[in-house]
Assembly symmetry: D2
Homo-oligomer: 342 residues x 4
């Protein structure tokens, strides 16, 4: 079986990473590639690292171009996915790498995105409790945000095991590719090299309600999230430092046991041996997640830290993992747990 | 008046930064420079950026060599400062850039450093409440740690104003110079470029009790601190993301007012206009501190973020600032608030 | 005497670096600051590292605004300087940090810049033979390009001493600030971090004729230059690796002697001890130049390498150095030879 | 068929990269892993990015341990390979990733390495004229140095076509992984981030005679090489800027034609479309080579530039490519031409 896949938005970072992974996927044949402002250009000029596709030319993002594929990946600006998905019909697997269908709460959507809520699709974070059952065979997938992927994987075991109070504090550092390819002054190399800076501070970052949604589901109660994203001087990677007050009776052993249980059979999550901590370099370009957890007795807090590649597990790799589940393929097909380091 | 200054430990990063600042200090004449394993070497080979001192040769760190100066800066490994200071006598200004005399609590010292407590010297963070009175005219200064400098300046106004609960969560990213110049595999450029990683997680980092000491003093009650340091791919800079639950009745306005009051007359602290956030690049090579604060209403937390240069304000600049106070000079002499950017 | 200085183009990297230096210059008082598209904005939002000027507001670049100063620095796009200079009159010192008045040969200008030649002003590279005599007391200065500064200082002693054949090969790596602050996709941090890439290859870079001009003047004959610039993953710095075939009879000793003679009294040029090589980190943020030279006997070539900070010695520091000479101040006033390292 | 492969020297950067590639090679089964000072340690502690091998323990590098494999890769310090290879016998494929067997000229070896010449093995740069015939079926391979790989691929077509004078000038920038994993002060992240610096200047770098050997073979006459390596602030990648005087009658067209002919059927070399230049980011983690060439008419020189990943095509990828040829597998098996970007 060859799965024919189209990519809408092939000129950006998410689209480029997706193509890198699809080129290595043994079951996928790459079909139409689209990009609006870049339609008509050679991919070799836009994504010079994708040598096998250098001579492909981008088309316009239209239903005609995207029709006739088994899977259509959407890497489009917010608010554009619903219309495209509708035209493709219910039998095509549509995987939205944007935010449009991630949130279940319409009020949250409207508050953080300022537009009408398009709906809610199966959420493509397979490692969350119960997620695989929803993803197998689905025709619609909402790929999670990169920060929510990192933070949810770090903290959900503590919440699922009832070990943490319902107030999480998350500080995450992201590589600059998370901010996209549109040129803006503060994203210039001259500005970001040698600098760490926060943004979206104080509960206003759009990934906050998505974290609340995931952690609340794991906890069975509403978990509040204080989330501070920071921009780090590196192209890729997210390091999420997450903490919450420990419930009474938590010990280092009970904490470790909860994480071992949560990740025992996970092919992409590496709960590190005690004493070893995650590093984004170790998961560079891979779909792997490094997780470590500790109990800080003096502060009474659980500290859980995860490292992912924001473009791979945090975006395109998560999308391929969900595609595999949706199509009934082995979940790990075409995905690597080996980072490109040093 | 020319202040004659000696530097013990001139070959490391702290010593090099101190010399960079002293060379620009109009009242200081640089005297003896020492370094143990590097004694006998030209400074030009060890600190090639210090052109005016290129032909100076390092001497052994002995009382004989250090005697005869008005000020002696100690940038020595832990545990060596007390013996040197004693030999220099009570009339020489001794400024310890190490940890030996920072902590007031001997039990804290013993738990975190594993040796006998040497004592407590006046703490050289001039911006803390009451600090200047202790530093003026003193003959002994304990220069604060780099992380405690960043975190204490970010949070003490909230504690001093009674706005924050007594549990702080601090996640800080530091440039690699904070880890020193001794070559270790995990500090190689190949390892750190492109990577973020935590270390000393779970309350074990030695700067934790120093933060507890400073914030507790500001709050008038014991403040617990959950501190996670991370290594960032940049040579210099600390970004400290600090938060605490807000006490009842806190508003964005009361918070802002507390910070404006705390920093109104501070020559080195720049409380940024609302909406602008600190960036380590902006304070690169300077003694300036950028601070911003916000109230996250949905999470009920105060978020205070500071950026410093770990080698300047976080080490050598803080040392010079304290020297100025101790000697009765203008506190800002020889120190800049202008970063080297981009 | 307070020299009143205006800066046209204060929002870019060259303008920002100039202001950083002028703030530390004991004889200069900063007057009008202009910027076209950014007129009306606070400097604190555009140049957050210049704390003392944070509340200054940019004005429009007009003759009215710029009138009434002793010195006017122009950091404007190509082709705009002549008109402004004319309106300021012959008695104001005008220092052009752009390219308009660097080239003596109008045909060269037209070929490389595609517009009419505006003229030729005294060339502000004080270290070149005979340059100081022209700069002292002048009312017009053309600040050299950053690459020509680095390459000319590396090679002119070999040419002035008649040691090198008239064909130079120059490969230089520059930090990204050399490409300016206008946001372009290939200058994004995501693109430049972790990457080296050439541009303007094959004799087409606009700094080529300027190098030919300088080296030919030193040699007394036309020197051809093969120049390849490359973009390096760092904010600042130029490392210029320059070579030429050695003339018959050249030895390592004669080469070294020529360089020692050329730089014997130069306050900013550090001819390194034999065996030590330049590094851009050592001159970061300073006006210093590190130079080293070697004779490769097996290839029969002279290899001369220089390191500068492209924004300081390569642009704004060179401008201040020329201003000092033009105004009769000590040439080194307000300029440092101490790099910010590590 | 499963090819059983052992890796001697699995804890360094070359060994780690080789394992990354072998894990993705469909025909290879990874056997013994050795490392001297690290014997007894878990690979997960030394190479945390190689998740599937995290629990493997390194053994001592002995003939007993290495016996019983189809292929043995040697990533050992200079001078140790000959003894190991001899013990393994003539029927085992031995691939030396060190320098011991690269040079044909014993005098060159002795001059640059200061020890007795061990011999000469088939040189594993398949793209050189005639190389594949020697590699097919061989039991011994000398993997080229990283710089010679980059420089030879950039320039051999010009020499093979008789277009270039026999004096090449090569300036190359390398990521820090090329300097290895042994911790040295000048390789600390604090030192290399933000800095470009040369080393081994003046014909003394050990890769120089290897370049002379390759280019001379292509030219049919002795080619002298002036080679300057520089250390760039990035973990991986080599950008080689190479030039030589053009012979009479060379045109841009004849030059382009020579390169198109040389690389027409090469699976790993991407001769870029005219106007597009190599970037190391584009080949990050891949076995691809980007090449571009131009004729600088005013300087009369051919400029050829290549980009490779020093650890992949420059070391471990080149080793796997040669293994494939030696074993009669498709040359591209297990190797990718897709970079990990941005």
């Amino acid at each position: 079986m060859a799965v024919r896949a189209a990519v809408a938005g092939a000129s950006g970072y998410a689209g480029g990473e997706l193509l890198r992974l699809l080129l290595a996927h043994p079951e996928v044949q790459i079909g139409a590639l689209t990009g609006n402002s870049n339609a008509g250009q050679r991919l070799g000029a836009l994504q010079p690292h994708l040598l096998p596709l250098a001579d492909r030319v981008l088309e316009e993002t239209t239903a005609e171009v995207l029709t006739g594929h088994d899977v259509v990946f959407l890497a489009l600006p917010h608010g554009q996915s619903a219309a495209v998905a509708e035209q493709l019909g219910p039998d095509v697997l549509v995987i939205d790498m944007g935010a449009d269908f991630r949130l279940a709460d319409a009020a949250d959507w409207e508050r953080f995105y300022g537009s009408a809520h398009a709906g809610t699709w199966p959420y493509g974070l397979a490692e969350l409790p119960g997620a695989r059952a929803v993803l197998e065979g689905t025709k619609r997938v909402a790929v999670p945000g990169c920060y929510p992927t990192a933070a949810s994987l770090a903290l959900f075991p503590a919440y699922a095991a009832g070990l943490a109070e319902a107030e999480a504090v998350i500080v995450a550092a992201s590589g600059t590719s998370g901010a996209g390819k549109a040129p803006k002054p503060h994203l210039l190399g001259s500005e970001v090299m040698g600098s760490m800076s926060p943004y979206g501070v104080g509960g206003v970052h759009r990934h906050t309600p998505e974290m609340v949604q995931n952690l609340s589901a794991a906890a069975g109660e509403r978990v509040s999230v204080s989330f501070t994203p920071t921009l780090a001087p590196m192209p890729r990677g997210i390091l999420a430092t997450c903490s919450a007050k420990a419930r009474d009776g938590v010990t280092g052993e009970s904490l470790r046991a909860a994480y071992e249980k949560a990740f025992a059979d996970e092919p992409f999550v590496h709960l590190l041996p005690e004493g070893q901590w995650p590093a984004t370099a170790s998961v560079y370009g891979s779909n792997a997640v490094q997780v470590q957890v500790a109990y800080d007795e003096s502060a009474g807090r659980i500290i859980a830290i995860s490292a992912i590649d924001n473009l791979t597990k945090g975006t395109a790799g998560g999308a391929v993992q969900s595609m595999n589940l949706a199509l009934g393929l082995d979940e790990t097909t075409g995905l690597s747990t080996i980072g490109v380091a040093p």
